[in-house]
Symmetry: C2
Subunit: 299 residues, 2 copies
């Protein structure tokens, strides 16, 4: 009988938020030995019950993994777990493939890839799109940048969590693609909020309006999905306002670096900052609808 | 043999632009006797060759039609052909159903419906979405406002040109729905332009980027359609910049009337006005991409 090659691979997974828990679960279900760490120990409980092994720090997970996946909060978190003394680059084994799936800055991804390469490791930036539902159903879009051989090597693992896994080019291109994705989402969220606010305020049946708009030129994934939630004033988070505000900030910085003026993105930043200021950071991005309708609004 | 009821209905069609020519052609192919008028006689040639009957004025078409469809340029054109002496309301027969499919102002639609009703006619506002391709393939979305009996009566004709024909409510609601549609399109166009401009400028493969974005949360009808045209810098018109600028103007006026602030739509207006000022009114709405990349740009 041929050996099961998959079982030989130890996969480390750092960051067990909404997305990370689902993703790590799929990898465990795929037959890999899973080594985990997260800022909050309790978030690993369900996975540990299913056989995952807990470690006290990112560095310790790195030391025992052939493939290491990270998906944490902010670029500053990525920087700290990868680059600080005792962190991932200090402890990971030569030959390991390190995959950061956090939405983070393209230039940081390039720095990590260079530092990893100097130590005989390979680092990929591979942020995802598709939110909590995509993570739960293993249907994420994964946009990867970095060495193509390393990408091929980890593709079987990435395919356990994503249905559309694409190698975009050199280090940083995964993050750049994710920025292009968030830039498109930002003004589309404004589009959806304004359209539904108008429909509601002039007295149209908003669900019927969505039925019509959702099949034509105005249709979008966000209109058809989050639009319905706006109509019900359901602001429960799929994707947090504070995470999206972070992504918009990264994208605006990158655009500034290349002298590209993005007024729609700048408008979205202002609006999401207002949501944060009004205390709605823990709601879903569809809470943008509040601004137009002054729902529990204190400005 | 049962009489062909369809043939008993004379349908008038006024306005043979890109959209109107396709729409009128489907009605003719559906077996109706078609009476036509347009500002430019030559635009009727192909239809007349296929059996349509030409009249010199909108009023003359109205005088011989059981069902009258109009799709002209601007609200001011709608006002003139319907309300001027010798125009449609002066000449149409009692019992006729008048359908304005121009994207026009909701309040004008209400005025025409009231005036028609006083003369024993029924007027519907039924603007469409789906552009030239939707018109050609008879797959338009049609959003109708006005008397429900009149709507049911003309539904067989509307189904010849639209695949999604919806009665939205009283007079004006068709136009309001179209405004909600254009409001959604306006900021989505900004979303698509900014996303592709960013992708191109940071050196991503833009087609590959669209492949990835087009299956996730950022996906939209416009990203997947007009996005590809932006990448090829193909600005040929499906839907004219000057028509869209008109629609944005109507929507902003309506929003102002109800004290609804729509900053995304206001931004889109500024940008489309800049396109007009730079001489790109006859291009397609995807020409918005020019602004970000200063393509043949003189500002």
């Amino acid at each position: 009988m041929a050996p099961n090659l998959a079982i030989q691979k130890r996969v480390g997974f750092i960051g067990l938020g909404i997305m990370g828990q689902h993703m790590a679960g799929h990898i465990l279900a795929g037959g890999y030995e899973l080594h985990v760490n997260s800022r909050t120990r309790a978030k690993a409980d369900a996975l540990v019950e299913r056989g995952a092994i807990w470690y006290e720090s990112p560095g310790e997970v790195a030391a025992t993994s052939d493939i290491l996946i990270t998906i944490v909060g902010y670029p500053v978190d990525v920087e700290s777990i990868y680059l600080e003394p005792g962190g991932i680059l200090d402890r990971a084994r030569p030959g390991a493939v390190l995959i950061d799936m956090t939405t983070s800055s393209p230039s940081l991804a390039e720095r990590i890839a260079k530092a990893a390469s100097l130590r005989g490791m390979m680092a990929l930036d591979a942020p995802v799109s598709g939110g909590d539902i995509g993570a739960r159903e293993a249907k994420l879009a994964i946009m990867a940048g970095g060495d193509e051989t390393a990408f091929s090597q980890v593709l079987p693992v990435l395919r356990l969590i994503g249905s559309n896994v694409v190698h975009m080019g050199q280090a940083g291109t995964g993050q750049h693609t994710k920025m292009a994705n968030q830039i498109a989402i930002a003004s589309t969220m404004i589009a959806v909020s304004e359209s539904i606010s108008y429909a509601t305020r002039v007295g149209l049946n908003p669900d019927l309006t969505l039925d019509v708009l959702g099949t034509g030129a105005a249709s979008s994934f966000l209109l058809n999905g989050l639009g319905r939630k706006m109509v019900r004033q359901d602001f429960a988070p799929g994707f947090f306002v504070h995470h999206f505000a972070k992504d918009i900030g990264i994208a605006l910085n990158e655009a500034k670096r290349i002298n590209l003026d993005l007024p729609g993105l700048a408008l979205a930043q202002k609006m999401y900052e207002r949501l944060l200021a009004n205390g709605f950071g823990e709601e879903g991005t569809q809470a943008l609808y509040r601004i137009y309708n002054r729902l529990h609004w204190s400005e």
